[in-house]
């Protein structure tokens, strides 16, 4: 880290919604770095940006993103990795794209798991009988048909678990009740909770759902068994039941649960990443990637996670094609598959295309909601960030000029930005994102036509400008 970047970093401050750092623009520095010519060049895209915004917000594309998303989501519903419905939804997207005259569409096969949720039921037996709503976590182990019965040990955090002797955990059910702070922080209790509980001899583990708000809403999600631990059944329960059990436990009451969970796992299914190219006029081999994932959890309808993100990415080449805008570089939309079970599609793409990775000029992903766009969460060098910050200034009229500095933006694209490829995720007004995330409430009711229009217009215009600039985004 050089002195410049230290100076740069100390001007950052934390903002809440995206748990990331905002670039408090020290405009002199960026102006110096970019130089007048580049700044002027960026501002020369003002008119084309206006054309795109007008076409989407007030023209023929108005409402189209929502309408197409609704048709898609209503037709297919949930699209879990490894299912036929996911593959049919991929075929549908290919057809929809080709109808737009975009014929550079290919798919690349990926081996993915199919984890099929079966019967799930938790019954509190003591101190009183009560059904406890749950959602098993991804790839959870099953219980015997009659279920597992055990006493609950409530822990607030891993440190508390560490402090309890093994004989007090052995044969019991560990319930983690972390209070939601930031997703990236709290989610470790979902992703690692089973392994840590198993290592101390627990027969099952439960986690208070990873959300700040609940209407008795359990939230599923992925988890991974560490090497060498017994894979114990693991599930999320609602905030309400977690807090109920905690109150009982804290009063010294013995809480006994029976947990029944069945599921099937097939690790050898085939799915596909989908690649749509709007070929560049001068450097077709160079790529600006816009992306979202097409798979979803098995609960809800995958409208928000990540139907919206996929559709604003679909919209980018479609809108450019319709407006006869061909940038110098190729704009590639990618619909990742099997994101939810561990970014499987993105890992496969990165591996298959590693020898061409120098050609990725910029990689974008929308997978944190498509509420009103606010800007971008950007990873890259200082000069890269300065370029993006200057581009974002063009979007003041739609209040989407914020650059959030994020070392690891997005989910799938973190694999690429981690390798030094500059990239960004959609920074949007997603304060309620985790209310719906991985639940039955992830439906079209979360989505808003006007906000999707703003997102699609912004996404498209940003991708176009980056793809058409005279210089590559530096690494």
């Amino acid at each position: 880290m050089n002195f410049d970047s230290i100076v740069f970093i100390v001007t950052l401050f934390v903002i809440l919604p995206n748990e990331a750092k905002v670039l408090k623009k020290t405009s002199n520095t960026c102006e110096d770095i970019l130089g007048d010519d580049l700044i002027e060049e960026i501002w020369s895209y003002r008119n084309v940006k206006d054309d795109i915004l007008k076409y989407v917000l007030d023209g023929d594309f108005k409402g189209k993103t929502y309408d197409e998303l609704a048709k898609f989501v209503d037709k297919f519903g949930a699209r879990p990795s490894g299912t036929d419905v996911l593959e049919k939804s991929i075929d549908y997207m290919i057809e929809l794209t080709k109808k737009e005259g975009l014929n550079d569409v290919i798919t690349e096969e990926v081996k993915v798991p199919l984890w099929e949720r079966g019967e799930e039921k938790i019954t509190m037996l003591e101190p009183r009988e009560k059904d406890i709503a749950l959602l098993g976590l991804g790839k959870s182990a099953t219980t015997p048909p009659e279920g597992l019965t055990g006493e609950v040990v409530v822990v607030r955090n891993f440190e508390e678990l560490e402090g309890i002797s093994e004989d007090k955990i052995k044969g019991k059910i560990v319930l983690y009740v972390p209070v939601f702070t930031a997703y990236g922080e709290t989610v470790t209790y979902r992703s690692q909770g089973a392994s840590k509980a198993s290592a101390k001899g627990a027969i099952a583990s439960l986690v208070r759902s990873i959300t700040p708000y609940s209407l008795y809403t359990p939230h599923t999600g992925s988890q991974t068994y560490a090497d060498g631990v017994v894979p114990i059944p693991t599930a999320a329960i609602t905030l309400e039941d977690a807090d109920l059990i905690t109150r009982m436990y804290d009063k010294g009451e013995k809480v006994v649960l029976n947990i029944k969970m069945s599921s099937k796992l097939d690790e050898n299914k085939i799915s596909r990443n989908t690649l749509i190219d709007l070929k560049g006029s001068e450097y077709p081999e160079k790529l600006v990637i816009v992306s979202g994932h097409i798979d979803s959890w098995d609960v809800g309808q995958g409208a928000m996670d990540d139907g919206g993100g996929m559709f604003v990415s679909w919209a980018a080449p479609v809108i450019l094609k319709r407006l006869h805008l061909t940038p110098k570089r190729t704009v590639r939309a990618i619909f990742w598959t099997a994101e939810e079970l561990g970014l499987i599609g993105a890992y496969a793409y990165e591996k298959a295309h590693r020898n061409e990775s120098d050609n990725i000029n910029f990689i974008m992903e929308s997978d944190e909601g498509t509420f009103a766009p606010l800007g971008l969460a950007v990873s890259g060098t200082q000069k890269a960030r300065c370029i993006i910050a200057e581009i974002l200034k063009l979007f003041k009229s739609i209040n989407a000029s914020t650059l959030v500095e994020e070392n690891s933006p997005g989910s799938d694209i973190a694999i690429f930005t981690g390798n030094g490829i500059p990239g960004a995720s959609l920074h949007n007004d997603n304060g309620k994102y985790f209310w719906f995330h991985h639940t039955e409430a992830d439906t079209m009711n979360v989505e808003n036509p006007d906000e999707l229009d703003l997102g699609a217009a912004f996404w498209t215009a940003v991708a176009y400008i980056i793809a058409d600039l005279s210089i590559d985004i530096p690494r």
Copy 2:
């Protein structure tokens, strides 16, 4: 209606949260009506009001209302009419009250129904397979074990239903999708929907849940079959699924559902109203009633509806007893039974006590949440309202001085106010009340210790002042 009251009414204006009219105080008028002596008398209660607030908000009672409510709700959970758990919870409340040295506790038996929900399942068969979450409505008819299968007819309102010929409804499932405006308005589709659909030959009816917000949350509630109609199965579904089916229907798609609903109905159970008296020092036969209902729906935990309301009413005689405050009239706390299936406890009380109804000086009920108190929704003559408005001025410090004029405040007490007895329900900051109402999300997580303290202090002080005034609240 005389001229005075016309003048009075034209000074009203509508406020939103409680769908009622606010008394825009024409203070001259109220001052004239009350006279200086009465106003001075009311203000003389300032100190005792302060004592009560201090004791509850900062003294020994701080947090007590929440803690006792949590103990109660966590111990019993849902308390549907006709169940053993409801009767045990009544016994518990009697014991809890007697421990406070309040021994004037009696119960009065009431014949109530037990409606036991069985298996409930809706599967969309066309245009694609999907589970549709539901909650059967109170006393709904059952389906055959294999369920009823039929095509859906979506209607926005009763007028639209009226306009469709019977042959297009016969053998089908009517889905009402009213948009939530105000509960009292929208709920008619839940309470009367089955009857109106049945009258046109429908085999079942569904209603979009009566709520402004959903995380895929179905809301149950009561409904009544009109005389002479075939009682068809009827249930509420989520906003999300109602809107999904509506989109499909509006596109011309055929939507076919299979509905399975089982339940048992026993109309001959016995429950009890509970009456707790803090006897008045001068007019023990005269009553100021504070009340809430002890029964709940079978879903959720009945913490908000109406555990909170019952506990602030329980707190009133308890706090007065602890503070050695004995008003001139008796303060009676009543815990109504079987409110949810049709105000059954309240009707029974009214009938049994009709010959003493002149003794009810004022009747209060909290059954619309115990969020931060804002004032009272009052029914009564102009003079009665002026007295209450003057009393409410004493509660400026806790922001609970608003008088909302409401012809029919509360639920149970509407039976009494409809007979001309002056009364009030708790006006509180309940903008989210219908998010939780009659759902699994009615749990302790809705409740807030500080807001319950404010509610209990306010409720107690208001009841004390009314019960101790030199004059009766006029009719």
